[in-house]
């Protein structure tokens, strides 16, 4: 039997409200099916399963708020290897594959982070009240989390729970609540990152003449709907550069763990403030057109806070892009437990010296913020150089 648990959709997620089951007891399910809707700080998320099987039992009633990791349903897997029966140990064994393969990487990084300073009392109170203390800000000596900090978090939690339960909330209230909780989630994740991760920053100015010329040519042949934006190009270029510098495509969990899949988190700004970071899975294996159509699909849904669980998990690196007309450089804060974030500024025409000649070229300032515990400047620099090479050869992207 497999336990299907409340997934962690990022280091900043503590719990979720099971809003609706899409399946019932006895239903056959297969990998990728949407089994339930869960309301999180990042909006209403459709939760997928990762295993073929039959729903044995639904454990949680709709409209219940549960912490990350809580079993939601029991699934009888079709795959007989992970079969049923027996001791609780065997059951744990069986449930681990999903938990670990698909969900827990981020959870682990948070749950067992040895670097968190918390008093024994605060830890006890947090555990008793199901508070995920890894995201709390400590007010004690040297930033240690104290009982008072935990009590504030409990109060906050009760308040948001009460808000949620309060009947007759208008859509406007809901959006406001969502944007408040997204704000809180961003605050917690970024504070944790800034507190714990020793960032270093590198910057390289990259000439976009060839890349843009290639894109403009490509767009001329396309219908409006199929047009490319520079972001798609940049994502692809980053993805294939990561193949050559894999150390950046990793998480830090008491050591560097390099990820084999290149899943790129792409920062989407929400109109009401806050950000959400959907993942473009296996970006190195997708064509630029595929990436562009993914962006066209995912960005409007991200802005409407309607993403699926798989789209919010597993990113192994983040890209933030300022876009047309904005600031020239962006120095990112790493999204834990990742080890790097790449920032693209506005692409703008500037004087550029090349082969002893000065010309006007479209340039972009590319920054890399990386975790110095995990990787050193030389590696970061190598990555930016490789990225430059790829952007100078857009036809091979």
């Amino acid at each position: 039997m497999i336990e299907f648990v409340m997934p962690s959709l990022g280091a900043d997620m503590e719990d979720g409200i099971l809003v609706e089951w899409h399946k019932k007891k006895g239903d056959a399910i297969k990998r990728g099916d949407i089994i339930a809707d869960v309301e999180t700080q990042k909006g209403l998320i459709e939760i997928e399963v990762f295993e073929d099987g039959v729903i044995e039992k639904l454990l949680i009633e709709p409209d219940t708020k549960v912490p990350v990791g809580t079993p939601l349903a029991l699934i009888n897997p079709t795959n007989k290897k992970a079969e049923t029966i027996i001791s609780t140990d065997a059951q744990k064994e069986a449930s681990h594959p999903i938990a670990e393969k698909e969900i827990t990487p981020t959870l682990n990084a948070v749950g067992v982070n040895k670097k968190i300073k918390i008093s024994p009392l605060a830890k006890r109170v947090a555990t008793e009240n199901n508070i995920n203390f890894s995201t709390l800000l400590g007010s004690g000596e040297n930033g240690a989390i104290t009982k008072e900090d935990v009590e504030k978090a409990i109060a906050q939690k009760q308040k948001s729970l009460a808000n949620h339960e309060a009947s007759g909330t208008t859509t406007e209230d809901k959006t406001k609540n969502a944007s408040n909780s997204i704000r809180a989630a961003v605050a917690a994740a970024m504070s944790k990152s800034n507190r714990e991760i020793p960032h270093y920053y590198l910057e390289k100015t990259i000439d976009m003449t060839k890349a843009l010329a290639w894109m403009n040519r490509a767009n001329k042949e396309r219908s409006v709907k199929q047009r490319l934006l520079p972001a798609a190009l940049l994502i692809k270029a980053v993805a294939i550069s990561l193949r050559e510098v894999p150390e950046l495509n990793a998480i830090w969990d008491n050591g560097l763990q390099i990820k084999s899949d290149i899943n790129i988190g792409f920062v989407v700004s929400l109109r009401g403030g806050g950000i959400i970071v959907p993942a473009i899975h296996a970006a190195n294996l997708k064509t630029i057109d595929e990436i562009m159509s993914m962006l066209n699909d995912i960005i409007p849904r991200a802005k409407a806070l309607k993403l699926r669980s798989s789209e919010l998990s597993d990113s192994s690196i983040t890209i933030t892009s300022i876009g047309e007309g904005g600031a020239d450089s962006v120095y990112g804060i790493i999204y834990p437990p990742q080890v790097a974030i790449i920032g693209f500024g506005n692409i703008s025409e500037q004087p550029f010296a090349e082969n002893g000649m000065l010309g006007i070229h479209p340039l972009v300032h590319v920054t890399l913020a990386a975790d110095h515990r995990a990787i050193d400047g030389l590696t970061g620099s190598r990555f930016l150089t490789v990225l430059n090479t790829h952007l100078q050869n857009p036809e091979s992207l």
Partner: protein
């Protein structure tokens, strides 16, 4: 009333109350005590009750132990804690062990008063805080006189004990004046005393630390920090219940003592807090102790060698991350 006067009244009362009680020590008679605690008692009670002895700590402490075994109630005065080491053999190998080694037949109801601590520029020859040396030894009851009421009433209780009691008195406090509340006529030497009730942090201390901690607590109250002051009073056997109840309530502890930090009363208490109520702690237990040097002579160095009020205030603020 001065601390000295309180001690003297306690001795006088004991001498009046029980004919078996007598005071024995260097210069306690004709000279009136090295610190004038027993001044006038020789005239009042005579040479059989107020006994001057030669300068041999091992000899007269042994004599006191012998008298106690034989049914008397001796009060032995050791001028300063420095000299107590000369009597350590008698105290540890006889007084503390005889009950055990006689299979419970022989009690040693001796009371040994020891002048202790710093504060009078007596340097390393006549200063020091060696309460931890005595509190280490099973078979002894070790008291620390941190207030005037204890100076006045502890002796009577010590004399009731069937087992040897070591009473530490603080020479630096002799001249200090304090009113003893009229309703207090007896103290409980088996119990640690909460001198000030508070909710934010427990200041655990003894001896000269008690009034310093009270002063610090009053200043901290003005900053909005509510401090509980715990006067250990009995250093052996520790009243664990009272100590742990206080820290369980405040969730934080600072232990203040004049003694050297390594292997001290504070290390013992810190360890017990960790063993028994770890999950009630909201901050690490901190300690303020004496600097690990022989007590210096110059007054500014002497003061710097033990925790002072401002050190206590700063440490409390640090633990509470205040300011």
């Amino acid at each position: 009333m001065t601390y000295r006067e309180a001690l003297k009244q306690g001795i006088r009362e004991a001498l009046h109350a029980d004919g078996r009680v007598f005071l024995i020590g260097e210069d306690v008679g004709r000279y009136g005590g090295a610190f004038a605690v027993s001044k006038g008692l020789l005239q009042e009670f005579g040479e059989d009750r107020i006994m001057d002895v030669p300068l041999s700590e091992s000899g007269f402490v042994g004599a006191g132990i012998g008298a106690a075994i034989a049914g008397m109630k001796p009060i032995v005065e050791l001028m300063t804690v420095n000299f107590s080491l000369l009597a350590m053999d008698q105290i540890v190998n006889n007084a503390a062990t005889l009950l055990h080694m006689s299979g419970g037949q022989i009690n040693v109801p001796v009371v040994i008063r020891i002048g202790c601590g710093i504060g009078r520029q007596l340097a390393a020859q006549h200063s020091h805080s060696w309460e931890p040396l005595f509190a280490h030894i099973p078979g002894l009851i070790v008291l620390s006189v941190g207030t005037h009421e204890d100076a006045r009433y502890m002796l009577a209780e010590a004399l009731k004990s069937p087992d040897p009691v070591i009473v530490f008195e603080y020479t630096s406090m002799l001249n200090s004046e304090k009113e003893i509340p009229a309703n207090i006529t007896q103290v409980d030497i088996s119990k640690t005393k909460v001198r000030r009730v508070g909710k934010d942090i427990s200041l655990i201390t003894y001896g000269t630390g008690v009034y310093k901690c009270m002063d610090a607590a009053n200043e901290l109250a003005a900053m909005g920090i509510d401090v509980e002051v715990v006067d250990l009073r009995v250093l052996r056997p520790l009243d664990e219940e009272t100590i742990l109840a206080s820290v369980s309530k405040t969730h934080r502890a600072l232990i203040v003592e004049d003694a050297w930090k390594s292997v001290s009363i504070s290390s013992e208490i810190s360890a017990r807090i960790m063993e028994k109520i770890f999950y009630d702690l909201d901050a690490p237990v901190l300690r303020l102790s004496g600097v690990e040097v022989p007590i210096p002579y110059p007054v500014h160095l002497e003061e710097a060698s033990v925790p002072q009020k401002n050190d206590i205030i700063n440490a409390v603020k640090k633990i509470l991350n205040h300011d």
